[in-house]
Symmetry: C2
Subunit: 195 residues, 2 copies
């Protein structure tokens, strides 16, 4: 049965992170109190400080973890093939990855301004690295004559904005599967950059 006191260090940390992820994504970092996070986990507020030095570190940890996971997962994919094949891989990966963790995606886009300047710079560097992965594909394809782009940086931003937008409307119980969504977006992206 439930204990109201005792030692749970192995599982309490992840539960706090999970609760913070949920509450931050639902209500926003600034609108969520440490007491609310603690309550969600079944703790008193003071106990949280055994796991994070402060609220800011908790937010940063969630965002850093998300960006690290994004880059690691993408870079673990096979990288060969034509620019078109690599672009298709990117599109399908981006959609699947983002639809799989909507809360972390939401936080990572919405709470940037609540990071300290130092933490913001670190997250932006990771985001930039991910964007560069796509931009490299697009410029390679452009140089080989497969793609027609006026400006590779803008195309990069446009494609990422379009793809990330799936998280604003997709619902797992909805009428479309992730596979179908991937097919539809790949079709639009493919045509949009076509030579």
């Amino acid at each position: 049965m439930a204990r109201t006191q005792g030692s749970h260090s192995q599982i309490t940390g992840p539960r706090i992170r999970s609760a913070a992820l949920k509450l931050f994504s639902e209500r926003g970092y600034a609108a969520v109190s440490m007491r609310q996070i603690a309550s969600e986990v079944g703790l008193q507020a003071g106990a949280l400080y055994n796991y994070t030095p402060d609220k800011q570190a908790l937010l940063f940890s969630l965002m850093k973890g998300h960006m690290d996971e994004l880059l690691t997962a993408y870079r673990a994919l096979p990288r060969g093939g034509t620019p078109q094949a690599r672009l298709e891989t990117f599109v399908r990966f981006h959609i699947a990855f983002h639809l799989d963790r909507p809360e972390a995606v939401f936080i990572s886009y919405m709470e940037l301004r609540n990071l300290t300047p130092e933490n913001f710079a670190l997250i932006e560097e990771l985001r930039g690295a991910y964007e560069t992965e796509l931009q490299t594909i697009l410029t390679t394809g452009h140089d080989q004559g497969d793609f027609a782009l006026t400006d590779s940086k803008i195309s990069t931003m446009a494609v990422i904005a379009m793809l990330t937008g799936v998280t604003t409307w997709y619902r797992p119980k909805g009428r479309l599967s992730v596979d179908q969504v991937q097919d539809i977006y790949w079709d639009m992206v493919r045509k949009a950059v076509l030579a």
Copy 2:
């Protein structure tokens, strides 16, 4: 010279709205206090309540004003022509309108969750009406064989997400003019929905 007391009802209201718009967009609704808004205008916090019943009403007023302006401005445009011409009008309008008021755009996308349920429903209705304008263009073009769409609702969301994304990277002093940005995005949208 500056007065520290006195009556300014004609201009204080707009200045409060302007200050709130700026601060909400920079730091987020929940992170901005009424004192900070008042300070930005050169008032004490209590004076704000001559202009708004509470903080929530101030946020809602800004978002409602933005959405009303968006719909009114779009519907004032000429509506005739082929689906392709109407789509181009939409794309260019959406970019120009959004780049012209980045703060209101930011708030209207980021602060939805800080609205009361009633206010949220009202804003969502306006957003839905705007999306329907685009979806109508796309389905008309699809039915006439000009466009090839797997799913008109998804195409609508994808195009809007892509276009609205300009506000995340565009800077007025940057290397591209609004005209150039419109050209680039219109090229991508046009190809993306092409039959």
